[in-house]
């Protein structure tokens, strides 16, 4: 059954490319996305009872490829179909003539779903290559942005990193003689720990690059802010591409249970979050601010995943969803703003609330959600993430949240003021109805994620979670204090210039820098695991 979740989008993609009738294509696009979303919901409710296992071809033993859908995988599949449905609505009118766009979009969806469902080590390699190649082509097939330097770097780094991964899989295959993760897990747990170090380090290098961890984070934000690339693709990068790295991290942490690396990844997550915030503060490009903020949030999620306790895990899982929704909301809304204002410079966009009221309100919703304001999705996730931590970590995470607030105070400047002459003349400002629908749906989802938060957590993870009043008030106070500090800081100090700028310029690697840091990450892993054992 699970194979059809992967095969169906791909088959539809080919059909979309081949059908000559325009109207039939349009209908097929929207119907197919809706049907996929409903099917993913059905899958999720099925997996609440048992894990669904599909052996491709019904071969006995572990000879064939085995797909497994547990609750985690089903949740990610649901998120994927939801995001793709919304992106489809968003670009329905804009891209209606482009066959290639729809073809690639559906294939990308199939690759993501396959990545979340498969539990075969080599299949992950193939699907990751497909997804990065499709992403690169989607960003660059248009004439205007064909010669993008960052797109080239993105594809090359991904390919090289996947070679590291493949080498790691080779060592694992040598040790376990199988490619299925569950079966490998059984054998790996009987092996001596010292024999696992090299495959572990190689695979973790690849995952760090996929989930934009510290030394390997510079190329993902830039690829999201290629000037004329479709903003919907950038939103999907933030919502799913980075998250797929985190998902793989969870899977491989389970596989390498023998190697306990929570401390290192905790530190890595904190560093990534801090550096991501610093980078976001120094940018002037709106899209790039959002993209670097994704890095910071990925670091935060990494911290949450490595904390102890059920609540932290649930919180970071919930944050994956709420961040995907709010960040894609911000990206899509920003895309509409850029279209009207014709610039990406944060200094030049002013008065969005006045010129584009609906979009402005949606941006406000997104900012509130991502900074963790009460009644919004981000609040619930951050509440759970910080529910059980000790004091130093609590302070660190509050500081990271303060950083996020600083970034978004800077971002929120586009909302106020008076729009420039040029924009004011464009009366009435034309807004694509489909795009507006998409972002309104997303902001409704942001709100719903907060209002029905505890209920949703119970539904998604089966954890009985209630937000206690005392804790809520405590968090609210911290949040208000953070906002106040953030406002004061931005009022009296001009952040993002001077020292911070110099530091980020230093850390802003090119292609060779990224390759060197790949090797450095590998060495770090090997030495740390070798020494700490």
């Amino acid at each position: 059954m699970l194979t059809y979740f992967v095969i169906a989008p791909i088959f539809i993609a080919v059909l979309l490319y081949l059908i000559p009738f325009f109207k039939a294509r349009k209908a097929l696009v929207i119907l197919a996305q809706g049907a996929l979303f409903l099917a993913a919901c059905y899958l999720f409710f099925r997996t609440r009872e048992t894990e669904i296992v599909t052996i491709v071809g019904e071969y006995s033993g572990f000879l064939g490829i085995i797909l497994r859908a547990d609750q985690l995988a089903a949740m990610f599949v649901g998120l994927t179909t939801l995001m793709f449905l919304i992106i489809t609505v968003y670009s329905f009118n804009e891209q209606k003539d482009s066959r290639l766009f729809w073809f690639l979009l559906f294939i990308w969806e199939g690759a993501f779903i396959g990545l979340f469902l498969t539990r075969d080590l080599f299949n992950i390699f193939v699907l990751a290559e497909v997804s990065s190649a499709v992403a690169a082509v989607l960003l660059m097939y248009k004439r205007t942005n064909r010669s993008s330097y960052h797109g080239i770097i993105f594809l090359m780094v991904n390919v090289i990193v996947m070679q590291f991964y493949l080498l790691g899989v080779g060592y694992l295959y040598m040790l376990t003689g199988a490619l299925d993760m569950e079966y490998s897990h059984m054998i790996v747990s009987t092996l001596d720990r010292s024999r696992l170090i090299l495959p572990f380090a190689l695979i973790m290098t690849a995952i760090a690059a996929k989930s934009s961890m510290l030394p390997l984070f510079t190329f993902l934000p830039k690829v999201q802010s290629i000037p004329r690339a479709p903003v919907s693709v950038a939103a999907l990068f933030s919502a799913l591409q980075v998250k797929s790295g985190l998902y793989l991290f969870l899977r491989f942490r389970h596989l390498f249970e023998a190697i306990d690396m929570t401390g290192i990844f905790l530190a890595l997550g904190i560093l990534t979050a801090v550096v991501g915030v610093a980078f976001a503060l120094t940018q002037t490009d709106v899209k790039r601010i959002l993209a670097y903020s994704t890095v910071a949030q990925a670091g935060l999620i990494m911290v949450g995943l490595n904390l102890e306790g059920v609540y932290a895990y649930v919180g970071s899982m919930y944050h994956i969803i709420s961040h995907a929704i709010s960040k894609s909301l911000l990206f899509l809304a920003t895309g509409m703003v850029i279209r009207v204002y014709n610039t990406r410079d944060i200094g030049e966009i002013r008065g969005v609330l006045r010129s584009l009221p609906v979009v402005g309100v949606c941006i406000v919703f997104g900012i509130l959600s991502i900074t963790g304001a009460p009644l919004f999705g981000g609040n619930i996730s951050k509440y759970f993430m910080m529910a059980e931590v000790n004091l130093p970590l609590f302070i660190t995470m509050s500081f990271i949240n303060l950083g996020t607030i600083l970034v978004f105070i800077k971002f929120a400047r586009i909302l106020f003021g008076t729009p420039s002459e040029e924009v004011a003349q464009q009366q009435p400002i034309q807004v694509d109805k489909f795009k507006q629908t998409a972002i309104v749906i997303l902001s409704a989802l942001c709100l719903a994620g907060g209002v029905f938060g505890p209920g949703l957590v119970r539904l998604l993870f089966g954890v009985d979670a209630t937000v206690s009043l005392g804790g809520f008030v405590e968090k609210l106070i911290i949040l208000l204090v953070s906002w106040a500090v953030g406002l004061l800081l931005t009022k009296y100090r001009h952040l993002g210039r001077g020292g911070l700028q110099r530091v980020t310029n230093r850390l802003d690697f090119g292609f060779r820098g990224i390759t060197v840091s790949m090797g450095a990450f590998l060495v770090l892993m090997l030495v740390l695991v070798g020494v700490l054992m």
Binding site: E58, N123, V126
Partner: protein, 322 residues
């Protein structure tokens, strides 16, 4: 029996080839070394007991080299109006820069290598799936070639994605290359082939085509298969280009043909393998059914690969070069 000294000699040459590529500055020579390297790789695969991959690598190496040559040629042609100086003569560099640019990366790489070799797990190789594959494949999937059985039976799911990636590549090249139209309109005349060339290539083209078909049809029995056969059929079209020197293939139709073939191979795989049809058929018809399935699947993959690489070759050689 394969003698081991030969394998080690080839591997030593292989490493040496990589070093040569590393040391070489001139683009043309890099291309030649790359081609030789790919041939050596192919030989090494063969000596490691894997003729299927060897064949695939040999054919792929030729095509990749063509693409690289076109890329270099274009670069050399465009570079003239670019201002940057290439290949600066061996001027005196300060020692510090030399340390930073050569020694430090070398040390870094050496550290990585030492760590990798130190932590290399080694020990006994676990291979209990291997014996299962070797004893069961004839019954489960059919044919006499275990590699093709895995490629088309046990792991056909992977194969579909690989075919998909090739489709995406062809579409990307067709849409991303310089010219927006899918069909080239202007005919640029290159060096006209001589009489000898035409006669020989004509004769060889037929042999190549036959060999490609042979590989596809016999893919489940001996080495070879859809992918390798498809590459040879694409080579037939390359021969056609060499003789006629014009770009007159209907690229758009080929693209559609490729997509249709891909879609139908997905359908076949779904109906035969994913639904587990081999378990529901009566046992006496099974071998014939399996044979037919493998030939058809190989044929589909072959056709798709042939279409794809023909399009790639024509795009690169006739349109990208302009």
């Amino acid at each position: 029996m394969i003698p081991n000294p030969m394998l080690y000699a080839i591997l030593a040459l292989w490493v040496f080839g990589a070093v040569c590529i590393l040391r070489e500055r001139r683009n043309v020579r890099v291309m030649i070394y790359l081609f030789i390297f790919s041939l050596l790789t192919s030989l090494a695969y063969f000596l490691l007991g894997s003729p299927d991959t060897a064949m695939a690598e040999a054919a792929i190496g030729a095509f990749t080299t063509i693409f690289f040559i076109v890329c270099f040629e274009k670069y050399e042609a465009l570079k003239v109006d670019g201002p940057q100086p290439e290949e600066s003569p061996a001027e005196k560099r300060p020692v510090g820069a030399w340390l930073k640019r050569v020694v430090a990366p070398l040390l870094f790489t050496a550290v990585i290598g030492a760590l990798m070799l130190y932590f290399s797990p080694g020990g006994e190789v676990v291979d209990h799936l291997k014996s299962q594959y070797l004893t069961q494949f004839a019954q489960d999937v059919g044919g006499e070639n275990a590699v093709t059985a895995i490629y088309l039976g046990y792991r056909v799911y992977d194969t579909l994605f690989e075919a998909l990636l090739l489709v995406v590549t062809v579409l990307a090249v067709a849409h991303m290359s310089y010219s927006t139209s899918l069909q080239s309109t202007k005919q640029k005349r290159y060096l006209k082939p001589s009489v000898v060339e035409i006669a020989v290539v004509r004769a060889i083209a037929v042999v190549i085509l036959l060999f490609g078909v042979y590989l596809i049809v016999n893919g489940h029995i001996t080495a070879g298969g859809g992918f390798q056969g498809g590459l040879f059929i694409a080579a037939f079209f390359v021969c056609r280009f060499l003789i006629h020197n014009i770009h007159d293939l209907p690229v758009y139709k080929l693209l559609r043909l490729e997509e249709v073939v891909f879609a139908s191979s997905v359908l076949i795989a779904v109906f035969v393998i994913f639904l587990g049809m081999t378990y529901h058929l009566p046992a006496e018809h099974l071998p014939m059914f399996q044979g037919v399935y493998m030939v058809i699947m190989n044929f589909m993959i072959g056709m798709k690969v042939a279409c794809g690489f023909t399009i790639l070759f024509y795009r690169y050689v006739t349109i990208e070069r302009r």
